[in-house]
């Protein structure tokens, strides 16, 4: 088990800032997911940690030792690539043993390690095959095996599941999580898939335009997003947003409506400013039109999703998504009222887009 410290990493390509002062402290044995849309710098960050890409400034520390100047193989890391990157001309066995051969590991030890990884990943029957004779899922396993045999205390994953079909992806996700429980190594996992992030991570780092917007437990990222970007990026359907004005008296004014925000846990003291209210689809209660403290809303259409349903409403000139039970969706009136669960809502400063 090893800790990883990422300190003030900056990198730019031809005037474009790819990584902008990235800081992260990863504890030994932690499973960290770096989540972001394409082009946010997440894969670049992983390559910088691995030592495959150089950064302009900043440090990478592994177990409090600065490894910034070291070659990838000297950092004690293993990596699983998006395209698996198996060596095409070698058998699965040689793919697994290649790194150890270079390191001069004794033959008996290599055989033992390969057998161990093959058993763990159930690829024993494939050892004498070439990568071209394997299916996508099998190649994936071999790629993970190649990372495991090196007994690295840190394992990096670059979108390892994105080339698998949906069913296999769900299975492999669970297996990877179990693997982490067994091996207890530190894992850093890059993905654009928020379900992978939510289900696998001890902590999620949400990246946007080369910055880490929030680095916290998945549930916290969902419930208390640190910025407007995180709020809009995490969760499906996306969070509902309302622009308005937050008065010092803990009331939120939007259009002609004034909402009581006193149950919301503000991080800062009361200040009067332009703000954005974010509320998730499950935190909107549908009540009768004209009920006390309610806002009028009109049903546009409903979507039945099997276990539950989504209602799409027009409210204060915005389209709102609301989670409903199937029964409620079937009997929904056209004209209703909304009551927001303000203790679970999020407020963001309109100026800084940070959470208030």
């Amino acid at each position: 088990m090893s800790s990883v410290s990422i300190r003030q990493i900056r990198k730019s390509f031809a005037g474009l800032t790819v990584l902008d002062s990235v800081d992260m402290e990863i504890a030994p044995g932690e499973f960290v997911v770096i989540l972001g849309s394409s082009g946010c710098g997440k894969s670049t960050l992983l390559n910088v940690i691995a030592g495959l890409d150089d950064c302009d400034s900043g440090q990478i520390l592994i177990n409090d030792v600065d490894v910034s100047g070291l070659e990838p193989s000297q950092r004690g890391l293993a990596m699983v690539f998006q395209s698996y990157a198996l060596f095409p001309a070698m058998t699965v066995r040689r793919n697994l043993s290649f790194g150890m051969e270079i390191a001069g590991t004794p033959k008996a030890k290599i055989a033992e390690k390969v057998a161990w990884a093959a058993k763990l990943l159930q690829i024993e029957a494939l050892l004498e095959r070439k990568p071209s004779q394997l299916s996508g899922g099998q190649r994936q396993r071999v790629a993970i095996g190649r990372a495991l045999v090196r007994s690295s205390s840190i394992c990096l994953f670059d979108e390892p599941l994105s080339n698998l079909d949906a069913k296999l992806r769900a299975e492999t996700r669970v297996e990877l999580k179990e693997l982490h429980e067994t091996l207890k190594s530190t894992m850093i996992y890059v993905t654009h898939d928020q379900i992978e992030a939510m289900t696998m991570a001890d902590r999620v780092a949400v990246m946007h335009k080369g910055r880490v917007e929030q680095f916290a437990e998945p549930q916290k990222v969902y419930e208390k997003p640190a910025s407007l970007f995180v709020a809009g990026f995490i969760g499906s359907p996306a969070m509902n947003f309302l622009k308005g004005y937050l008065e010092g008296t803990r009331r939120f004014k939007t259009h002609d409506v004034s909402l009581d925000a006193s149950s919301y846990g503000f991080a800062t003291g009361p200040a009067a400013e332009e703000a954005i209210l974010g509320i998730r689809c499950e935190d909107v209660n549908v009540v009768e039109r004209g009920a006390p403290d309610s806002i009028p809303a009109t049903l546009a259409f409903t979507e039945l999703l099997g276990a539950d349903a989504l209602g799409w409403f027009d409210c204060l000139g915005q389209r709102f998504s609301v989670k409903l039970t199937i029964d409620a969706a079937r009997t929904m009136q056209k004209d209703v009222g909304f009551r927001f669960n303000m203790s679970k809502a999020s407020f963001f400063s309109a100026a800084t887009e940070r959470r208030l």
Binding site: F81, L86, F87, P88
Partner: protein, 294 residues
């Protein structure tokens, strides 16, 4: 009516198209093979038949005499040993030249494909320019350089010249092949602790069989058929087959024997044909792979 058309189309349409296709292919093959046929048929004629002047006539009394003369006793202005000594010289020159220029070209091409920067593109541009400068323009400086190194008209000198003149070409071909190989494979090898050369040797070279064969064939053909460089740089002891052939054909002494000349020309061309036939499968595969992967 419409039924009739539908029934006819699959039966006659493709058949006519196929007939046209084969007719065209046979005509083109005949067009290209006719000179070969002429040269072989005339090389099999005794001298009297040739003197009758009918170039297109098939041999009446075919004989291999001209071939035997061409092989071991046809005369240049200096000696009468046929093209035989040239064969060994050509092999001696071609094998190391092909092997070195292909392998070094592969290494160069891989390095250039890996190195992504503006400077790498500049070097590629210079190499491409190197391809377009005719040998004739570079002859004099090359002679000067080799003389100062003491390699002019030596065996090592001719091999060196072939390797250096071949490198722009082989580098470009390999570079274009390796640009299509996913970067992650090299990165994975680097993660495993493999050095650049180790990655090239253990990971990259084993997946390059097709392009290696293609480049080696192209280099072999070019070097085997070379006349100019062999004439100038090889020296009298290492004259390749092409130079020997020209010396036999141009020999002003004695009578002119077109049948011997033609036999000598076919013998000189045989090795490249053999190489093509033996490796044709790889050749087509390599060209196709290069076309798809860019």
């Amino acid at each position: 009516m419409s039924h009739a058309i539908q029934a006819e189309r699959p039966v006659f349409g493709p058949r006519i198209a196929r007939f046209g296709l084969y007719a065209f292919l046979i005509a083109s093959a005949a067009f290209f093979l006719l000179p070969l046929l002429l040269i072989i048929s005339n090389s099999l004629k005794p001298l009297e038949e040739i003197r009758q002047g009918n170039l297109l006539a098939l041999p009446v009394r075919p004989t291999f005499d001209a071939w035997i003369t061409a092989w071991k006793s046809a005369c240049t202005e200096l000696e009468c040993g046929g093209v035989r000594p040239g064969l060994w010289n050509s092999i001696k020159i071609a094998i190391p030249s092909v092997a070195i220029s292909t392998l070094v070209g592969a290494l160069n091409g891989y390095a250039l494909a890996q190195w992504k920067s503006r400077r790498a593109n500049l070097i590629m541009l210079l190499i491409t320019i190197g391809l377009f400068i005719p040998y004739q323009a570079m002859l004099y400086p090359t002679v000067k350089i080799l003389s100062s190194m003491g390699l002019f008209r030596t065996y090592a000198g001719i091999v060196l010249v072939h390797v250096i003149y071949g490198l722009p070409y082989t580098t470009l071909l390999f570079r274009n092949f390796y640009v299509g190989v996913p970067d992650e494979i090299s990165r994975a090898a680097r993660m495993e602790g493999a050095s650049f050369l180790r990655t090239f040797w253990s990971v990259i070279l084993p997946i390059s069989t097709n392009i290696l064969v293609v480049v080696a064939i192209l280099q072999f053909t070019g070097i085997w058929n070379d006349y100019l460089l062999g004439l100038i740089f090889a020296g009298n002891d290492n004259l390749p087959m092409t130079v020997q052939l020209t010396n036999i054909v141009n020999n002003a002494r004695g009578s002119v024997s077109p049948n011997v000349n033609m036999a000598a020309a076919v013998i000189t061309a045989v090795p490249t044909l053999v190489v093509y036939f033996l490796s044709g499968r790889y050749f087509v595969r390599g060209i196709a792979a290069g076309a798809v992967k860019g």
